[in-house]
């Protein structure tokens, strides 16, 4: 998760934080966008982290030579 913190923070900053700082209207459409733009990256980050951890913990003997 920590390894993917930079892509996650960059993504959330540009897609959610910058529009808010620019004064984007926080209406239903924006909240719907924000909900998807926050939830999906968190799920993807979690999934990729689990896969990356599983790969790095694989015993050396299991790695094809």
């Amino acid at each position: 998760m920590i390894r993917l913190a930079i892509p996650l923070v960059s993504y959330l900053a540009i897609t959610t934080l910058v529009p808010i700082l620019n004064g984007a209207p926080t209406d239903a459409a924006f909240l719907e966008h924000a909900a998807l733009a926050i939830t999906l990256p968190l799920i993807i980050t979690g999934t990729l982290s689990i896969l990356a951890n599983a790969r790095s913990r694989r015993p050396e003997s299991a790695v094809p030579k």
Partner: protein, 184 residues
Amino acid sequence: MSAERAMTRQGIHSGVVIVAMLGVTYGLKRHYSTANPEALQWILAPTAWLVEAVFGEPFLFEQHVGYVNEHLRFAIAPSCAGVNFMIIAICTAALGFVGQMRTLPGKLALLFTSVALAYVVTIAVNAARIVIALLLQAHPVSIAGLSSGQIHHAEGIVVYFTSLCCLYLLADCLLARARTKAAP
């Protein structure tokens, strides 16, 4: 020079590059916020060309709209130019790897390479996103009661963010391998 001074100097150099990165991304964001389809040709044209090459359907440029295919009822408009993804990719590459470059020229080269690679990657990923969107339009799916607009939006997030993470991990791996090889 003591190790501490060298580290301080490296920190200052990283700061300079991060400020330069913020300048580049701010300029890009500002250009994007006011640009019409004509001004965004630099990114829309190669994306439309790649979508045409993959999907086999022509997209014609229409003033004030973008690249349009009447038959598919699909427009590659400024809102789906992928400029925000390009900005995110530049920030991710620069912030993620600036600490791994030891000299100022190395750090500046990283920034220039990030901008160039982010442009190429944005065109490829955006074209893939559009092709998937066209396939979803042709073969609609139903996911958890989401509307077609919400599915299109979610598809964009999944394609963009997964690509960003995979490319970041790949670059991290390649840089680590290069460091191992360079080590005495």
